[in-house]
């Protein structure tokens, strides 16, 4: 079962310079909320920013990860 820590590590490992805050919103290891900042988000649309994060998890979203709520932005 995925954990919030595991999601954080995967995001930060896959996206250069990313910082992620991840919460398990239900405590059941399948619904998460993540706030992610990464330099690569600069100049990209929200759709593109979210796709970069979804891509980290490939087929896991909709599978073991039922829901991943995202807020993304470039670092300030």
């Amino acid at each position: 079962m995925p954990t919030a820590d595991e999601l954080k590590r995967r995001i930060e490992a896959a996206i250069p310079g990313a910082r992620a805050l991840v919460h398990d919103t239900t405590g059941t290891g399948d619904h998460f909320r993540a706030e992610v900042t990464a330099p690569v988000f600069a100049g990209r649309t929200r759709i593109e920013q979210h796709r970069l994060v979804y891509d980290v998890f490939d087929g896991d979203i909709g599978g073991p990860i039922h829901a991943l709520s995202l807020t993304t932005r470039p670092p300030q």
Partner: protein, 131 residues
């Protein structure tokens, strides 16, 4: 023989035929998921007219939709054939006023009756909705 994919074709057609279309779990009256419910509520509070497709009756709808849109989650809102976002993006855009802009709405819209003969894509239950 060319491989046909009627579900994919029906989704592509539905996106092309409806200026605002929401793929969701459940229906606008009875959303089957909190994310779908929030997205419907945002659209309705702007008085947006939108078509809705329930993806739950057939798992292939979601599979084909995600393949077309390169977006893994539900709901998915399309405006003028373009993916605008899922629940998170729609809610952010609602809060910032961008959603009303994209939908070309300025505050509460005058209710407009949907065309009685709105095009229906084969094999998909599409409902035209007024807030």
């Amino acid at each position: 023989m060319t491989e046909t994919n009627p579900i994919r074709d029906a989704i592509t057609e539905a996106i092309a035929d409806h200026p605002v279309i929401l793929f969701m779990k459940g229906t606008p009256e009875a959303p089957a998921c909190g994310f779908s419910a929030r997205t419907v509520a945002a659209l309705q509070s702007l008085g947006a007219q939108f078509a809705a497709v329930d993806i739950l009756p057939d798992p292939r709808i979601r599979q084909e939709l995600s393949a077309i849109s390169d977006w893994p989650t539900i709901p998915q809102l399309f405006v003028e054939g373009e993916l605008v976002g899922g629940c998170d993006i729609v809610m952010e855009m609602y809060a910032s006023g961008e959603l009303a802009e994209v939908l070309k709405l300025e505050g509460p819209a005058e209710p407009v009756a949907p065309p009685a003969d709105a095009p229906q894509a084969d094999g998909l239950q599409i409902e035209n909705r007024l807030a």
